[in-house]
């Protein structure tokens, strides 16, 4: 087998051969190799994570018309390593009233909930951890563990700010999970499968063109799930300070921080996989798996960049606005989109491809337009109400 067409398989076979050659049991060797593979993936992700810190800082600097890190190394590239060293040598404090086991478990779970996501990410046509037949649901399941880690961190810190911050964050995560899971069903319907790899293979036309509204809603829900601006209410300088991770310092804080960054990047990746064809790009993925991985990473980066773009340009909103936005607008809209998609999919099942694409696209555009019109009229009414009150107040003076 040619190494370049499937390097991982070749390497794994080679390693297994060596292990069995040492007289090891075949099953044990297989498990060991798989374990090594997972380790490799995690290492790569961690390295990527370090790189992401630099990307984030550099990008935010450009958004804010600054230069960003530029002292350590060329373009400040070595800056993250300096940060890590700083985090490592910082004193690792634990509050006196903290629940020690839970307190220490929380950052690990937080990081793990992100890393576990990569088990189902297809990196290249032949490279994936497991091709789970419920891969799409797995994303939500891992998110549940993330929510658990946050509530654990908030509770165990024995700090009111941390607890309130954790509560808020979890409330948002649980709420926005609903539109998100609903929008995950849209690619499932279109592809007719919950295998991640299958969804990619079926995307001869990117699903963003079939279901643009679903892609947008998924992105909004993902940003809320990540707890990033404009939905970053877990932290607030004047009210909660840093939120659930207020008592954490040193590398434990670093794990939360790195976990968040990697999480954002991962969701960029999922966005790319579910709506932008994953590793596919005009057949280039067939040339070499390396190329496929690069395509996926570039697409994920673009998604990540959009998340950052939103974060640094949109104002944050209050928690009541956010929850109202979710329950009164996004969730009903998500259900409507799901219904419309399922209906159109059934109606256009026998139609020619161009009609299918056009019908799907138009249905989404129309649904979105109607939703916006409804939202606009509601907003107008509310504004009139508020302004009316103000006017009567002014008149009474």
């Amino acid at each position: 087998m040619d190494f370049w067409s499937d390097p991982l398989k070749v390497a794994a076979d080679w390693l297994e051969g060596i292990f069995t050659g040492w007289g090891m049991d075949a099953v044990l060797a297989h498990v060991l190799v798989a374990f090594l593979g997972v380790l490799l993936l995690i290492m790569l992700l961690m390295v990527l994570d370090i790189f992401l810190v630099w990307v984030e800082r550099k990008v935010v600097a450009r958004f804010q018309d600054r230069l960003g890190p530029n002292r350590v190394g060329p373009f400040g590239l070595i800056q993250p390593f300096a940060d890590i060293i700083k985090l490592m040598i910082k004193e690792d404090t634990t509050p006196a009233g903290a629940d020690k086991v839970v307190y220490n478990l929380a950052p690990i779970l937080s990081m793990a909930s992100v890393l576990i996501l990569w088990a189902v990410v297809p990196l290249a046509p032949t490279m994936f951890g497991v091709d789970l037949n419920v891969g799409v649901l797995f994303i939500i399941a891992a998110g549940a563990i993330g929510a658990l880690s946050i509530i654990m961190a908030g509770w165990s810190s024995d700090n009111k700010f941390a607890m309130i911050g954790g509560f808020r964050q979890v409330a948002v995560m649980v709420s926005f999970e609903i539109p998100m899971i609903t929008m995950l069903i849209v690619p499932t319907i279109l592809a007719g499968s919950m295998h991640m790899n299958e969804i990619i293979l079926r995307q001869d036309i990117w699903y963003v063109f079939l279901a643009p509204l679903a892609a947008v809603i998924f992105m909004i829900a993902a940003i809320a799930e990540l707890g990033r601006a404009p939905f970053d209410l877990a932290e607030g300088e004047s009210e909660l300070v840093s939120g659930y991770n207020i008592e954490y310092s040193g590398m434990k804080f670093g794990m939360f921080f790195a976990g968040e960054l990697l999480h954002a990047f991962t969701f960029g990746g999922f966005w790319a996989i579910l709506f932008f064809g994953g590793y596919r790009f005009f057949g280039l993925e067939q040339v070499s798996p390396i190329l496929a991985i690069m395509i996926l990473v570039i697409k994920a980066m673009i998604g990540y960049w959009i998340i950052m773009w939103v974060r640094y340009t949109v104002m944050r909103i209050r928690i009541d606005q956010m929850l109202a936005f979710n329950w009164k607008f996004l969730t009903p809209l998500a259900f409507a989109v799901l219904l419309v998609t399922a209906l159109m999919n059934a109606l256009l099942a026998g139609a020619p491809t161009w009609l299918y694409i056009l019908g799907m696209f138009l249905a989404h555009v129309v649904t979105g337009w109607i939703a916006l019109e409804i939202a606009r009229s509601v907003a107008r009414k509310e504004r009139e109400q508020v302004e009316g009150v103000q006017k009567t107040l002014e008149a009474s003076h």
């Binding site: 099953v27 629940d99 839970v102 789970l132 037949n133 419920v134 649901l137 797995f138 939500i140 399941a141 998110g143 549940a144 563990i145 929510a147 658990l148 509530i151 654990m152 509770w155 607890m163 509560f167 979890v170 649980v174 999970e177 899971i181 919950m194």
Partner: protein, 169 residues
Amino acid sequence: MTGEQIIFLITAGFTLGSGLMVVTARNLVHAALWLVSALFGVAVTYALLNANFIAVVQIVVYIGAIAILFIFAVMLTRRDMRESGPQMNKNWWSGAILAALVFAGLAFLLQGWGGFSKTASAFPSGFDAVGELGEALVSPDAFVLPFEVASVLLLAALVGAVYLAFNKK
């Protein structure tokens, strides 16, 4: 003893240990977290039974929603956690005896059943359990009615819960 059996035993031990901690932990938050680990063990059990969908749903529903809800509820009633007082009532010994009796009775009944030590048959080739489950849930010949009734029940329960917990001022 095969690898699968080892994994099962570890999982079962983990699940039952966590379950015991759930009912004995003094700190209610700990009890809820132990519940999470017990439920996680159950999810692994489902995975061992090749029921992937059920396993993932177990994590999504139980850990993602129910456990979180429990923790919220514990914290909302925090004044009354009373870690100092006894966590079990006076009749704990009769409860323990009854639980043991129930287990003994169940075990006794089960070992007398013919299919007790059945082994699993292999899946038919090309069998798609998730697809079959989806078909069964929405097929009029199968379970669409119970499924819809369950969703209506869930909706009614959620509305009722909101109404109950709503702070009427």
